[in-house]
């Protein structure tokens, strides 16, 4: 076991940990070790800041959901204008047309439904991630 001196511990938290440790009949070091081990088990989330265009997409989804519209919103040039279509294939055709007219620099497609979160497991690539973190 190593002896470590820590600065800047929150006094209120420290007091609460001390009380809880004495109630459980364990030392403060044991409580800190338990807390650190639990913290290490927590996932690390690497996330970019939400972009302005995604906030525009959320607002548009809310608006069209209230009107009962179904399908997809195609948002052009970071929210400059948008179009509604019924499928991804129709969205691709609209984007192609505007691209040939040289009218677009970026496009975001959003289905008209509340945002859901999906997870994908990845086997490979962890070495690169560890290098970044």
């Amino acid at each position: 076991m190593k002896n470590v001196f820590l600065r800047g511990i929150d006094e209120e938290t420290y007091r609460e940990v001390k009380v809880k440790a004495s109630l459980l009949g364990i030392t403060l070091s044991e409580a800190v070790n338990i807390a650190l081990k639990e913290w290490l088990k927590k996932p690390i989330i690497v996330e970019d800041k939400k972009s302005d265009v995604k906030e525009i997409a959320d607002r548009l989804v809310e608006k069209y959901l209230k009107k009962g519209v179904k399908g997809y919103i195609v948002i052009f040039n970071n929210g400059e204008n948008h179009a509604i279509c019924s499928s991804i294939d129709e969205a691709i055709n609209i984007i192609r047309k505007r691209y040939t007219e040289k009218k677009i620099s970026s496009v975001l497609i959003r289905e008209i439904k509340p945002r859901s979160i999906r997870f994908l497991e990845i086997g490979g690539g962890l070495l690169e991630i560890c290098g970044e973190i």
Binding site: I45, V46, G124, L126
Partner: protein, 136 residues
Amino acid sequence: MDYLKFVEKYDISITPSHPFLKIDISNPITNEELEEKAYIDTGFSGSLIITKSIFEKLNLNLIEIDETYYAIHAGRFITKLSPVIAVVRIKNFYYKKMKIFVHPYIDKVLMGREILNEIYLCLNGPKQVLEILYKS
């Protein structure tokens, strides 16, 4: 119906060697296309992971999808992915427009089970070759 066999050697520059498939990824809007090595990743539950550099080269910002996806690595590291629509082609036997994912940190293309489950693929480790059988 006859079956044809396609064979690709493992990438031996990686230790241990890693099976891969040469694929073409294209932008359905601009038709720009890139040939890439897609490393086989049976632990990946999605379709295809691409790098930020491929995203930029193919101008896939013209076909981004606003859906929230997270990649979980080893059940511990969680990274936000950007889904885009692209056309994935493997030689002359696989051609599909699909949702693929841009990973901010990984620097190689990973092919997951969503594609692998659609092809007859044999990892012949002792011969260091990947074999694919497809209908002629």
